[in-house]
Symmetry: none
DNA sequence: AATGAATGAGAGTTCATTCAT
DNA sequence: GATGAATGAACTCTCATTCAT
């Protein structure tokens, strides 16, 4: 009997994935504590009891949400780390572009917001986020910048600070979108900010010789 | 008689102020929902009931915390708005310094974190924060930058974006401190970041003529 | 296996009904404000939380208790309204009998007590009780008495007052039972009071001609 | 200095009286449990603390309210008990008149409502009310009616029931006023009800010989 | 596997009562 | 006597978690 059956039945196999997806939405909107399991279950299209077939606790779901948001980006970071040894300007332009794309194309902004908000309550989540994502990216960039300084491309200065200088405005556009746009603020176009920022920053950090 | 622990102390002192102070601590650590009134009261040195002599609800306390963090900074923003019409480099250097000092010297970072985290649940708080603080500061800087562009000091580009580029790394150091330092990350020295950033940015955004 | 006490019983039975029943008991004993949800739940044989699966608030339960006490009596009132046009003495005797039976056989007395007690706090409940029950009954009786007066059966006088004269002593026996019997007062036998009262009242209100 | 002083300063001596008066109002409106000591104090024009100079607990105030409503009526009841041995019709007419006046002229109705409502929570209050007021009045009337029956004035029947028959409609008008008039019901005029009821009842209970 | 009715510990809030002033 | 800020026990209501079905 086909009657009454949903047209597209989602593969049973991905129940956990659907729950994590729904949970991401709810956690992003409400924060961890204010998120209701009822709502997560409802949005995932399952019963509240079913959630507990796949996750032990609410915290468990939260961890899964963050972990899942991390994984697909680890590759990008590793690629960055193993990046071409060409002129630093290419690397920086590339990094900014990738970061801008990730920001625009994924929900990583919401997750970052949650990590910031719940760092006090779930230190191990902040730690994972830092260790697997942020620190690695920062280290990769610092290393590249340091090498470029050694090659005389980049002016003196703390490489880690240069790295933060690069990504901060991009991250700021995400937080802006999450925080102020819903209450009427004019949004920032991440790509446009990235473009202007890369130009300004390169202009400011490269040595005379490196500016072709 | 001073000896002995009086059951009921009556401090003429600023009870609401003490409660708001304690609440700021707890909210910053736990977030709004996970903060316990018991704990706020305990840290304020009063009973749970006493809190309700001064505030109607938990939300009310939260609003007071944010409002109170805003007020002392409004002056700084207004001063910035009415700033000298001298060379933009001076203004930017000044702004960065003030921002760095505020960040280092006040708890505004914790509050900002709370505003980001709870924007979804308390839109009116995000709105106040934006309208009274963020938008004003941004507008003042944009205007100054625009004027500098008209004077030929600053290269072409979106003034509002330039403004964000300036402050973003500084704000990032706060979020870093709140989020990752407690789990072992190496902190950023806001003042040092400010110094390097101002130099890089000015170098990047000023026209040839403006660079003395 | 029937043996053993299952932690979660699922009675298909009328949970809301059981809760309302338990609530009626507790409200009648303690009054609305002094009634404890714990106790209502306990007497209904459910947990405190379960009560909130079926009712939004304590007030909601209270309304359900009163509403539920009203409904089965509406029929009786309507029957009264559509009563036979025979001699008024029959009607009055019949009404007194029905009222006496309802009083003796149901918990309506307790509910009436609650309505009286909480009229100030829950006006809409007093209104419902009045509009759907009391006013209707009174109107039906007044109309019948008026018709009897037109037929020369009943002596002059305000029909609504005659109606109150008729039922007041019966209602008084309920309040007596609720109020004074528990502290040792001798109870009134509602049926006996009804019998004597009907005889006295008919004797007093009928015209000479109507007394066979 | 007279300036700032209230024109009529109430005698200090009657603070308790003023509190009881205020409490009567509040209890009558809200019931015992829902009445707030804040409100009682406010209406009495004293501080909350002052209330505790005169009364130990809220229950204590409640008892005082009821007791105070009883006392002035005890005299009336005793007068009734010691009544003239004249024809019963005079007595009954007199009693009805007095009761109607008390009902109309005092707040005894509100108190009666409270006694009914709180009988379950404060049995000793119900007991006092019964023993000192209700039972005495009932006994006095029963005795008089019994004597009248012995004299052949009143038809056979239970004297206590006759007594209830007499006062019930009058009491009903009070409860009606307290309960249904505030939600829009048409009030009963107690005096008018008394007049019609006395006539009807006497007509119904007197023997042929006693009807002049 | 899946449900959802049921649980019960724990939260925010209220308010009779106390006591330093 | 009088005040009113302060207390803390007790309440209603919520919601993550469980388990009979």
């Amino acid at each position: 009997m086909d009657a009454g059956e949903p047209k597209f039945r989602r593969r049973k196999a991905d129940r956990p994935g659907e729950i994590v997806e729904a949970a991401l939405e709810v956690f992003a909107e409400k924060g961890f504590a204010a998120a209701r399991l009822d709502e997560i279950a409802r949005r995932a299209g399952v019963s509240k009891g079913a959630v507990y077939l796949y996750f032990e606790t609410k915290e468990d779901i939260f961890r899964a949400v963050v972990t899942r948001a991390i994984s697909p980006n680890i590759a990008a970071v590793q690629a960055m780390a193993a990046a071409h040894p060409g002129p630093i300007s290419e690397l920086i332009g590339g990094v900014a572009k990738v970061v801008a794309e990730v920001i625009a194309g994924t929900l990583i902004g919401s997750v970052a917001k949650m990590v910031i908000a719940e760092a006090g309550n779930f230190p191990e989540i902040a730690r994972v986020w830092h260790d697997e994502l942020v620190a690695q990216a920062l280290a990769a960039m610092s290393t590249a910048i340091e090498a470029a300084q050694a090659r005389g491309e980049v002016r003196p200065g703390d490489p880690r600070t240069y790295a933060i200088q690069l990504v901060a405005p991009l991250l700021m556009t995400v937080l802006w979108r999450e925080t102020f746009v819903p209450v009427g603020a004019r949004p920032f176009d991440t790509a446009a900010v990235a473009a202007q920022h890369v130009e300004t920053l390169l202009n400011g950090m490269l040595t005379q010789g490196a500016r072709a």
